[in-house]
């Protein structure tokens, strides 16, 4: 052994020892690595309490509490404020987080901001509704085509049971022309209703009043036998119009989402069924996925968080009641 060799070997062995010892708590170190990371979540809307996004947020917060990662939420006051979301997205990039989670308000218009984020080396994970781009590392959402098919099939079954003796006319009330959720759900509904006549699709642009007015107008113009509302606002607009015209329980309506008023309509039978997403899971899993990516693990490009068909029969089942009636926010 050359003179002094043992000295270097000693240092190398000591370093090795240190590394081995550190790895005893490897799991903890993963947690510690995540503690230093920061994610900015750009949502579609943040201001309204107790809605879909609130539940998404609590799912995200629970995941972040488990891992210790830092979360920051931002988003416009309303879903239709696309320009505001784009502005907030650029602001998020300027803050240089480790990752941005985006629930895009517009399939096309968020494309440019996302490629800018790529240039700035900030990975993007989309959730709920995506962007027309291949840049995002993944997409966590309800498979909206699948959810649409469920809605369509449920309505098809109801119509079959009604047996009008003629070809029923189905009207679709969509919330937006540009959002991927609306596009996918409509596609799904049309698949699910195959064999039934679909009168057409109308757009309310995420405006309750417009949905209401359109429905009233259309009910006068056409012989409509069933209606599908593609989101909360359009479903409530349709349901209110039908109820106000005294047609409740006569025209079956299948809607989306789980607003408290929708639940009341479901209980009273104005709504035949609603298809609900799992926003809590969506929020929780999108953070988990973002963490996996930050830890260098393999990330699936799409993660379906699933959807459920809710009717009067199952709405108070223990399994579903928390999906439909989210817990109140506790005082912190």
């Amino acid at each position: 052994m050359k003179r002094g060799n043992w000295f270097y070997i000693s240092i190398i062995t000591a370093t090795l020892l240190y590394i081995i010892l550190l790895n005893v708590g490897a799991q903890r170190n993963e947690r510690e690595a995540l503690k230093e990371k920061r994610i900015i979540v750009v949502l579609k809307s943040v201001a309204q309490p107790m809605d879909f996004w609130d539940v998404v947020k609590s799912g995200m917060e629970e995941a972040a509490r488990e891992s210790g990662i830092t979360l920051e939420f931002t988003g416009p006051a309303h879903e239709y404020l696309v320009d505001e979301q784009i502005k907030l997205f650029y602001e998020a990039i300027e803050k240089k987080p480790d990752l941005i989670i985006l629930a895009s308000s517009d399939f096309e218009r968020l494309k440019t901001p996302v490629s800018y984020a790529q240039r700035m080396d900030i990975p993007i994970l989309t959730m709920d509704s995506s962007v027309n781009s291949t840049i995002p590392i993944g997409f966590v959402a309800t498979d909206n085509v699948e959810a649409g098919i469920k809605a369509g099939k449920t309505l098809a079954a109801i119509l079959d049971e009604l047996d009008l003796g003629r070809e029923p006319n189905v009207m679709i009330m969509s919330h937006s022309k540009g959002t991927s959720t609306a596009i996918d759900r409509e596609t799904g509904v049309r698949i699910g209703l195959q064999g039934h006549h679909i009168l057409g699709t109308w757009y309310c642009n995420i405006d309750y009043q417009m949905a209401y007015d359109l429905t009233v107008q259309l009910l006068e113009e056409y012989q409509i036998d069933a209606i599908v509302g593609l989101n909360e606002v359009s479903t409530l607009g349709v349901a209110d119009a039908v109820y106000d015209l005294g047609l409740g329980r006569k025209i079956p309506i299948v809607g989306f989402d789980n607003a408290a008023r929708e639940m009341a309509y479901l209980e009273s039978g104005v709504l035949s069924a609603v298809v609900v997403q799992r926003p809590y899971n969506m929020g929780y899993l999108s953070i988990k996925k973002a963490e996996d990516f930050l830890l260098g693990k393999e990330v699936e490009p799409f993660l379906n968080t699933g959807s459920i068909v809710i009717t009067l029969q199952n709405m108070f089942e223990p399994e579903y009641q928390e999906v439909l009636f989210p817990y109140d926010k506790l005082s912190q």
């Binding site: 020892l17 081995i20 005893v24 799991q27 903890r28 210790g68 223990p318 579903y320």
Partner: protein, 592 residues
């Protein structure tokens, strides 16, 4: 590659080093592991005890809520107005609103109660919210809280956390307690009393206390169904799994259940029969762990360096004496046996060196023995050579004495006999090999006296020796053969009267004794031939044997530098000289 690795282990030092390094590494790792386990366990015990306490507090709170609800329920049932209202089969609107107001007063006093309702078996309902009508879309008399209360009147029914749909469009999260409303007098069941507890109160209780490592609390009812789970949706969609069966089997006094990196502590509420479960992720919850690791790694580093030094010293203490011994052995290679290995080392090495020393001594003794044997062999050879000189001369001289006695030359007989006596005395000299030059001269003179008488003055002689060398050592009977040679080969047949001179002188390092004669002489080439080692004596030249004899004896005794020399001077006289060492340079061990 394998050879290169093996070469790391080739020296004693590196082997010692690696062995000790591995030993220390293993020791540190195992102590770390054990102490980690130990610290973790004791820390876990502390946190578990603490958790147990806070869980017991939650359970106590839940039970106290339940007891409150039961007390309220009992108070309502006992109330005279309630009994009175439901005993009648007809509706009394005044009493009805009075009771409603009475129920609402409980709600004002206690924020945690959402609703109190009295539902008759058939068609009447009174609620704490007097202005609200009961949900027309819900078959309230088919709800579990109604049917269970009637079926099991002995015990209040307590529901899981659920969404209450008593009123249309209002869906609060509650825990319901229901009791049968029985007639005081007849004991018949008139209806059911429902008390709804705001479930948020229980959720508040179950808020996680510790955030790092993250924990959460969930509740199971006595059937193992969820009363409450903060991640209810994840549980129902199969993303989060809880081992409910094992938890149900868990007693309050049991140590925490540890499954799949999670630890479960459960406490059971005696009143509600619920199991409150606290779940903690099994992270290493020691914050100082990293510092401990750094400390251990530093200790390791120091230990490794010390081991390196120790290995160096240790191996040197072993190899150094071995190297020394090796060097000593190598010097033996160069024919040096006069050494002893004296080495300060461990017992084993010392034994080795001792054995080596013993071996050297044996070798030395053997060499000595061989020397002695050779010596005695040479001595016997010498004796044999000496013995060759004497006989002829003795016979001849004795013949001469006889002859002279017959002739009556008495004086000459005396002279010759005494010379002969001198000759033999010196010849024998008590067996000594070396005598003085003086004695040797006396010997040769006696011989010359005898020969001169035998050859009737046919030659003359002279002796001229420097005084200083008379006491010098000299081999005996060396001059006599030379003189004999001069007489028989130089003078005996010379037509003139010969002369023999014996000259002795000292040179710087040697003594030269010469015999010079003016006889026929001898060719130095023949002389050299005589003395050369391959010469084989023949009977023809007897004198040659004598000269050679002397030469060999001198050389045997004093070494190769000495011996006989032959030269002729300007007068054609032959001089044969004996070269002897001047001082006493004879080898001690060769002395006889």
């Amino acid at each position: 590659m394998i050879k290169r690795i093996l070469s790391f282990f080739s020296t004693l030092e590196s082997r010692t080093y690696y062995v000790f390094t591995i030993l220390i590494l293993v020791t540190i790792l195992s102590t770390q592991f054990i102490s980690y386990q130990f610290t973790q366990r004791s820390l876990d015990e502390v946190t578990n005890t603490q958790k147990g306490y806070s869980m017991e507090r939650i359970v106590y709170q839940i039970d106290s809520y339940m007891v409150t609800m039961e007390n309220i329920a009992k108070a309502v049932i006992q109330d005279g107005r309630v009994q009175q209202y439901f005993s009648f089969t007809e509706d009394d609107p005044v009493l009805r609103s009075e009771i409603s107001e009475y129920l609402a007063s409980f709600l004002r006093a206690r924020e945690d109660i959402t609703t109190i309702a009295l539902i008759s078996i058939h068609n009447r309902e009174i609620t704490s919210s007097g202005d609200l009508t009961v949900n027309p879309y819900s078959d309230i008399r088919n709800q579990p809280w109604f049917t269970q209360a009637i079926e099991r009147p002995e015990k209040p029914y307590i529901s899981s956390a659920k969404v209450q749909n008593l009123f249309h469009g209002i869906y609060p999260w509650v825990v319901s307690m229901s009791m049968p409303l029985t007639d005081h007098e007849t004991g018949t069941i008139l209806g059911v009393l429902l008390v709804d507890l705001n479930f948020n109160r229980i959720r508040e209780l179950c808020k996680p206390i510790i955030q790092d490592p993250p924990e959460y609390i969930f509740i199971l009812n006595e059937h193992g169904d969820y009363v409450y789970h903060p991640k209810q949706q994840l549980v129902f969609s199969g993303i989060v799994h809880e081992p409910t069966e094992k938890i149900m089997a868990l007693k309050d006094s049991d140590p925490p259940l540890e499954i799949l990196g999670k630890s479960y502590i459960a406490r059971t509420s005696l009143y509600a029969g619920w199991k409150v479960v606290c779940v903690t992720e099994l992270y290493a919850s020691i914050d100082q762990w990293r510092y401990i690791q750094v400390a251990y790694a530093s200790i390791g580093l120091i230990a490794f360096i010390v081991v390196g030094l120790m290995a160096n010293i240790l191996s040197r203490s072993i190899t150094h004496p071995v190297k020394k011994l090796c060097n000593i052995m190598q010097s033996v290679d160069k024919n040096n046996f006069d050494i002893t290995a004296e080495i300060n080392a461990t017992e084993e090495i010392r034994q080795l060196s001792d054995s080596f020393n013993l071996m050297l001594k044996k070798i030395r003794d053997l060499i000595e023995q061989i020397h002695h044997e050779q010596e005695s062999k040479r001595k016997s050879e010498l004796k044999a050579l000496q013995a060759q000189i004497n006989p002829h001369f003795l016979y001849n001289t004795l013949d001469s004495i006889i002859w002279m006695s017959e002739m009556g030359h008495n004086e000459e007989v005396v002279l010759m006999t005494s010379a002969l006596a001198k000759l033999f005395r010196i010849s024998i000299s008590r067996g000594k090999e070396v005598i003085t030059v003086e004695e040797e001269l006396l010997h040769v003179e006696s011989y010359l006296t005898i020969q001169k008488m035998r050859y009737r003055e046919h030659f003359s002689y002279s002796i001229d020796v420097e005084q200083e060398i008379l006491k010098a050592p000299c081999m005996k009977i060396v001059l006599q053969p030379l003189v004999e040679n001069s007489i028989y080969h130089g003078l005996k047949n010379a037509p003139y009267k010969g002369h023999i001179s014996i000259i002795g002188r000292a040179e710087e390092h040697a003594i030269i004794l010469s015999v010079k004669d003016n006889g026929l002489g001898m060719d130095p080439k023949i002389f050299d031939h005589l003395l050369c080692e391959t010469y084989i004596p023949t009977n023809i030249s007897r004198s040659g044997v004598g000269l050679r004899n002397v030469h060999e004896r001198v050389r045997l005794y004093f070494g190769d530098a000495y011996g006989l020399r032959c030269e002729k001077n300007d007068h054609q006289e032959t001089i044969i000289s004996i070269v002897l060492p001047k001082a006493d340079t004879t080898k001690e061990e060769v002395r006889v």
